[in-house]
Symmetry: C2
Subunit: 205 residues, 2 copies
């Protein structure tokens, strides 16, 4: 609905910070410290803004967390979406296992996965956040199961295969790998785990 006007954007004083970059900073803190472990002071320090700006732009701590996790899910190099587009169920699992291994080993961002670690055990104040993350994890597994069901219909998984069980197994290994990296496992070790996990997966043909 662009109307060729010189008005930059909106009425009122323009915000002095980049909303997206501030959200990235917030994500990094939540990722590192979890929801309960992150204070508003941690957030405003990292984001370079003060509390009223944070509340005006993002709602409150909980809504900021959800927005940060949404950003996390839609990261440009998200392994998840690319994996689902592989040609066979085996290739999907393989892409996801090695892709996550490589991503987890990447030291340019905090350890692990914010969806797994953000609010695993938590205070009552974080209960709704915990539930939101559970829904995301379950939803991801459901999408994998759906992809495996397609593969089964397409004939590249045996008729005896259980798409949901396969998805749960794959999810289990991926979630376990996020803990392994916190334990100190490096890229090679994570890829070894991926390789072993694949041995339990129905081979193509």
């Amino acid at each position: 609905m662009k109307i060729g006007q010189k008005s930059v954007c909106c009425i009122g004083r323009p915000r002095a910070f980049d909303s997206e970059k501030a959200l990235e900073k917030a994500l990094e803190v939540f990722w590192r410290k979890g929801y309960d472990g992150t204070s508003l002071a941690d957030l405003t320090d990292a984001m370079g803004i003060n509390k009223p700006s944070l509340y005006a732009a993002f709602g409150n701590k909980e809504q900021l967390f959800i927005k940060a996790v949404d950003l996390y899910e839609n990261r440009p190099n998200s392994v998840f979406h690319d994996a689902l587009m592989q040609k066979t169920a085996y290739a999907v699992a393989e892409y996801m296992l090695y892709g996550v291994a490589d991503d987890l080993a990447d030291k340019s961002h905090p350890n692990g996965c914010v969806i797994v670690q953000g609010a695993l055990s938590c205070s009552e104040a974080a209960a709704s956040v915990k539930e939101a993350l559970i829904n995301k994890r379950v939803g991801h597994e459901a999408k994998i199961a759906e992809r495996f069901a397609e593969a089964k219909a397409a004939g590249d998984l045996p008729t005896s295969a259980d798409p949901e069980a396969l998805a749960r197994y794959l999810g289990t290994v991926l979630q376990g790998m996020t803990i392994q990296v916190t334990n100190g496992s490096d890229q090679q070790q994570l890829r070894e785990i991926a390789k072993m996990a694949l041995m339990a997966f129905p081979q193509p043909q």
Copy 2:
């Protein structure tokens, strides 16, 4: 060093609570809420004592957590120790996977594993607790690797087997299963995961 005297125990006013039971209550709270998510008020409420008693008996929040986790590790029905005593490496893995599946499905205690979830992502105040839990997880895997190395020497694992890689894979699946149960997986589903994970493990003979 029992000397047959009628003195019950010690000098001074006796404590009015059962130290072990209070510790069990503390464990349950930490298990459910994690270290950051648990407040001293949560603890004193659950333990039925007040703060000065807690501090006199257990030190501080951090020391109480460590003591609670020690209690957790030495639970009577701890799968871990029993698993290591099985006759073959495969039997060790099998016992551990199915044992953990059953234990995780047990609704008489909080979900998951306090060693995995207690301080995965956490505040700076919990950094030392996080490190202690990492050490425990790594230590457990090291004991499994040791057991697998014995098995390899005994000839019940192929000479090509890598005991440490096998232990890491097993640990990964077990840790992933603790998250699965929080996601809502039931006993049957956890046992399915255990079954699949075993398919990647070197078969006996």
